[in-house]
């Protein structure tokens, strides 16, 4: 196997929490990213999911070194990014680009699209003569499905979906290898979201791009990813090929997450069993001991869960999970706590809604296979 395009090892980003009137005192750390390992193969898409505040964006930014990691390494195309001096780093930065939720929201509204797109080219000393740049920009717009006339227009004149197309065009002007897209479609209407998802897939195929897609929408991530990583409080709790993750989610958190995603099909919705979690995400400044999910986990056990940190283990080829009891959870040896037991212990509810589902109804994450007619 060739070297993966991106390899991340033990990556940590801890933000100091400062207090004090005259002198800033560090009173603790927000462990936004707390020891993440991942690799992304060339030409593939890695999808990163997890709840708000679990550290997805910080991880993406740390890979690009927009955020200084507290510890850990990032290898891009076999090179340790931290070892690079400014000039080669700038060079490498060209090969890694980012697409944001609203990429034009943060840009100068008085710049027209032409100068927005030409800027990165010039910044990296690419593009050549004026005529060559003009030709390149027209090709770019064409590849993201916008007319050349768009060059003369300003960001506010475009709809959200068109702005995202321009954002993608801006990211690919400099011919990167890796595109990190942070919530690229979450601000868009569904009909437009599908256009942008299709565009990303088409560009990947045509340009051989590698993607890290960060999104909270599990259905979108499942649709575009080869491998999916699930984050909880700064760490990966599960990682697997997309189909395996959705067919056999192993980590209790992944199961709860998937059972919570609404499916646009009443037949499925009525038959689903939901694993309702109690409470909210604990603070990453003061994460729970042992397994970080133990305060909300319906499968939590008396031993190990509260005081022993689970490590990522490979249970099936490429399928990693960090739960002490993953095998027993998978095999149904352990059952999630019921709503009644919950009230007595830590307030975790397993609620079945809709019509009766088999006792293993939630095993597939979304229920038994559905047939259409």
């Amino acid at each position: 196997m060739t070297e993966p395009l991106l390899r991340v090892e033990g990556l940590q980003v801890h933000f100091p929490i400062k207090r004090g009137v005259f002198v800033d005192r560090t009173v603790g750390h927000v462990k936004a990213v707390d020891g993440v390992d991942l690799t992304i193969d060339r030409g593939t898409t890695y999808g990163l999911v997890g709840e708000s505040g679990c550290g997805k964006s910080t991880l993406g930014r740390a890979i690009l070194r927009l955020e200084e990691p507290t510890a850990g390494q990032v290898w891009f195309d076999g090179v340790d990014v931290a070892s690079l001096r400014p000039e080669p780093l700038r060079h490498m930065r060209r090969r890694m680009q980012m697409v944001f939720q609203d990429p034009l929201g943060s840009l100068d509204p008085r710049q027209d699209v032409e100068s927005l797109l030409a800027e990165p080219l010039k910044a990296h000393g690419l593009g050549g003569s004026g005529a060559e740049i003009a030709k390149r920009l027209r090709e770019l717009l064409d590849s993201v499905g916008l007319p050349a006339a768009a060059l003369r227009r300003y960001p506010h004149e475009f709809s959200g979906g068109q702005r995202q197309r321009i954002g993608i065009a801006r990211a690919i002007t400099v011919e990167p290898d890796l595109l990190i897209a942070d919530e690229p479609v979450s601000a868009l209407d569904v009909s437009v979201q599908a256009q942008v998802v299709n565009l990303l897939e088409e560009l990947q195929e045509r340009l051989g791009l590698t993607y890290l897609v960060i999104a909270h929408d599990l259905a979108v991530v499942r649709h575009i990813s080869d491998v999916v990583g699930v984050m909880y409080l700064g760490s990966l709790v599960e990682q697997a090929p997309a189909d395996a993750l959705y067919e056999t989610p192993l980590h209790p958190y992944t199961r709860a997450l998937m059972s919570a995603v609404p499916v646009p099909d009443p037949v499925v919705e009525d038959a689903r069993e939901r694993i309702l979690l109690s409470g909210d995400l604990p603070s990453p400044a003061n994460p729970p001991s042992g397994c970080r999910f133990h305060t909300r986990c319906p499968w939590r056990q008396e031993t190990r869960c509260d005081d022993e940190v689970p490590v990522l283990r490979e249970l099936a080829p490429g399928h990693l999970v960090s739960c002490h009891w993953a095998e027993d959870v998978r095999d149904g040896v352990l059952q999630p706590r019921s709503a009644e037991q919950v009230a007595a212990t830590q307030g975790v509810a397993v609620a079945a809604t809709g019509t009766e589902a088999g006792s293993d109804g939630f095993v597939g994450g979304v229920d038994e296979p559905i047939s259409y007619h």
Partner: protein
């Protein structure tokens, strides 16, 4: 119109609601353009559609919460038979909170940041139920408990910013429950929340409707939420209802090209990788005025010349379309069209 409502009649009856925004020197926008629907006790009705189609304006007009200046509202909004449009501010204020309540996407905007949660809940109880002192306090605690806020006594002493987004939304729902309203309008109540928290809130709303017979209007752009929660669904486009159906009917057999397009656009968690999504072309900006033809025509794959008023001589009307259904389309998708989000 009122296909719903048993013997008791609908809780809410909206007829031909129109809202026009008119700023001086600008062309008027018809944000809501002749919307009619009804909600029966214990029923959940969904208003669904893309950004800007008029969902929020419909709900604000219903609650009498639109600003007075530069806004023209007409039609009829009846709560238990009583006309609300044109009712005085005092009457409306009395009804809001007691008989009808609204939950917004951003709970922070409807909570007072300088007053503790407890005081805010107690205020509602005092104003609408005449409760005071310890009794009100105990009831407040009970309400927070009912919406699943752990350690309710402590939470009552906290300020809105000390609560997480999900907790705030629950506090707000607790306040709207305080008077067991006949009507609850929830405008994207879970859009800003994580899915696991969303699941908790939706469960809460389900219990509320089943338990107390509250009529619920659920406004959302999420077809998954609609599929799991609503009895009847109204799909809106450019200020008008374009299709109405019972939930299972709508997803199994979307008849309007826009509804069908929406369903083909959403990836499904239980769908496979690689099946391409079929987006609708263009965006909600690409509409034509209803007076010129079907507003969806510029994006519609099956549009024909007679979708334009110029050719047919008349606007496309919302018409009955079989049992419990209504449709505003000249060339509906045939029933044989693949069903809900039909990627194999």
């Amino acid at each position: 119109m009122s296909a719903v409502g048993g013997a008791a009649g609908p809780v809410l009856q909206v007829e031909d609601l129109r809202v026009r925004f008119q700023r001086r020197g600008e062309v008027a926008t018809h944000a809501v353009d002749g919307v009619s629907f009804a909600v029966a006790p214990g029923e959940t009705v969904g208003l669904v559609g893309e950004s800007g189609c008029g969902k929020s304006v419909t709900s604000l007009a219903t609650m009498g919460l639109l600003p007075k200046r530069g806004v023209h509202v007409s039609g009829s909004v009846k709560l238990d038979g009583e006309e609300l449009l044109g009712a005085g501010d005092r009457t409306l204020r009395k009804l809001r909170g007691k008989d009808m309540a609204m939950v917004f996407q951003d709970p922070l905007s409807s909570l007072n940041p300088t007053v503790t949660i407890g005081t805010q809940v107690v205020e509602v109880l005092a104003e609408h139920r005449g409760m005071k002192g310890d009794a009100a306090r105990r009831e407040a605690e009970d309400l927070l408990d009912r919406v699943g806020i752990p350690d309710p006594r402590r939470r009552l002493g906290e300020y809105p910013h000390q609560l997480s987004g999900g907790m705030r939304q629950r506090a707000l729902i607790a306040m709207s429950l305080a008077c067991s309203p006949r009507l609850l309008i929830a405008d994207e109540p879970t859009t800003a929340l994580d899915v696991t928290i969303q699941a908790q809130i939706l469960e809460l709303l389900r219990d509320l409707v089943q338990g107390s017979g509250t009529a619920l209007v659920m406004i959302t752009h999420d077809l998954g939420v609609v599929a799991g929660l609503c009895d009847r669904v109204h799909v809106m486009y450019a200020g008008r209802i374009i299709e109405t159906a019972e939930r299972r009917d709508l997803f199994a057999r979307p008849r309007h090209p826009y509804t069908g397009g929406l369903l083909a656009s959403v990836p499904r968690l239980d769908g496979g990788r690689g099946a391409p999504l079929t987006p609708i072309r263009g965006s909600a900006r690409d509409t034509i005025p209803w007076t010129q033809g079907c507003a969806f025509a510029p994006r519609c794959d099956v549009a024909l010349d007679d979708c334009l008023v110029e050719v047919s001589g008349s606007e496309v009307e919302l018409a009955d379309d079989g049992a419990g259904r209504q449709l505003r389309c000249r060339h509906p998708l045939t029933p044989a069209v693949p069903t809900a989000g039909a990627h194999p």
